[in-house]
Amino acid sequence: MSFIRDGLTIGAVAVGAFFFLAGMVGLLRFPDTLSRLHALSKADNLGLGLIVFGLLFQEDELFPALKLVGVWLLALLAGAIVAQLIARAAIRDRPSA
């Protein structure tokens, strides 16, 4: 049982870390602000989400697990709204973009 749980954790956390890596590459390599924003928001939401998902298999109690999910939901909410605000600011700064 713990073997399966560990396997799920390893899989999800590894994919999550990969998303962070991908997001960083996008952030550094993509040519303009909006495509960088696109790469970033994927990394933000999926990367952290998968890491939280993986860590959930290691939690035995309910409250710490709920707290982990809460942290992720908070980051998701903040990420979505900040991305929206940044995109508007970026479009205003460079109308041609």
């Binding site: 908070l74 909410l77 903040a78 709204i81 929206q84 605000l85």
Partner: protein, 315 residues
């Protein structure tokens, strides 16, 4: 073991790199953004140094509220179109400063490498008296019981800093509202966010406050979160800050220090020393102090970030 070392080394390198870049950056916003990133990395460092209480404070104040303050100041300087003013100092002075700072670094590094390990410690003493305070978190015990006088003075220092900031207001604005009027679409994304986040923040703040007696957390971290949520609502134009001569504002700012001092003086009568707690009542009294102190610190921090009044007093 080597993994933790790799983690620490990367973290330390990133910290120094951000600091170096922040010092060298031409653009002012780059320096400000660098200092936000610096605070974030510092929070990670504190976790690695087994100091989660400090990590919480750093995440809340060092990165969060200080970042907000510097961003606001940077934006105002840019808006005012202030000329850069001074040119950088000459080569001789720069070289001299570099040499001096290099020497300081080398000296401190030597102290770090040569100082005894394990270091002299007060931990056993703090542990021995922990049961008497009724607290489970030794850091809170130091802040609220062993060295409560320091914490009292710290709260007073915050208040004095606010008095200092306010006293920089031009005469015509005295008694007015701090910060600019915010114009924001009340149905927009930002206003939505500013309605959604503060309730979450206040729950987190209450949680931090409550666990602070037994686990990492406490009134400073809690107060900072409350203050930041207040500022967020202000930025989104949901609430406006009150004029600084409102009696309610003044009362909110001083209630914490006053309760602290009153209980301290009561300790002189009941337990024989200023800020001593009668045996068996320590935890209750600490709670009675912490609640108003948290509210006062939250108000003080928020008002420190927005700065002196910038608008005419009403009427």
């Amino acid at each position: 073991m080597t993994l933790t070392f790799a983690f620490d080394a990367i973290l330390a390198l990133a910290l120094v790199a951000v600091a170096a870049w922040t010092t060298a950056a031409r653009d002012m916003f780059a320096a400000v953004a660098g200092s936000v990133a610096f605070g974030l990395l510092m929070a990670l460092v504190w976790v690695r140094l087994a100091a989660p209480d400090v990590a919480l404070t750093e995440a809340a104040i060092g990165s969060g509220v200080t970042g907000g303050l510097l961003i606001a100041v940077g934006a105002r300087l840019r808006r005012n179109g202030a000329s850069p003013g001074a040119e950088p100092p000459g080569a001789i002075l720069r070289c001299t400063a570099a040499v001096v700072c290099g020497l300081v670094t080398v000296g401190l590094g030597a102290i770090v490498l040569l100082s005894p390990e394990p270091a002299p410690t007060l931990a056993p003493l703090a542990a021995r008296h922990l049961p008497q305070t009724g607290l489970g978190n030794p850091v809170t015990a130091v802040l609220m019981a062993y060295r409560a006088i320091d914490t009292l003075l710290e709260v007073v220092v915050l208040l004095l800093a606010l008095v200092g900031v306010w006293s920089l207001a031009p005469d015509r604005y005295w008694g007015g509202r701090p910060g600019m009027q915010q114009h924001e679409d009340p149905n927009g994304v930002l206003a939505f966010f500013a309605r959604l986040l503060p309730p979450i923040g206040i729950i987190v703040a209450i949680h931090l406050f409550w666990v602070g007696s037994v686990a990492p957390g406490g009134e400073f971290q809690s107060a900072t979160v409350v203050g930041a949520m207040w500022l967020l609502a202000m930025i989104a134009g949901l609430v406006d800050l009150p004029p600084i001569d409102r009696p309610g504002v003044r009362l909110g700012l001083v209630v914490g220090p006053v309760v602290f001092i009153v209980i301290g003086l009561a300790g002189t009568a009941l337990a024989g020393a200023f800020l001593a707690y009668p045996p068996g009542h320590a935890k209750l009294l600490i709670l009675v102090i912490e609640i108003p102190v948290t509210l006062s610190i939250a108000a003080t921090l928020g008002l420190l970030v927005v700065g002196p009044p910038q608008r005419m007093p009403p009427g």
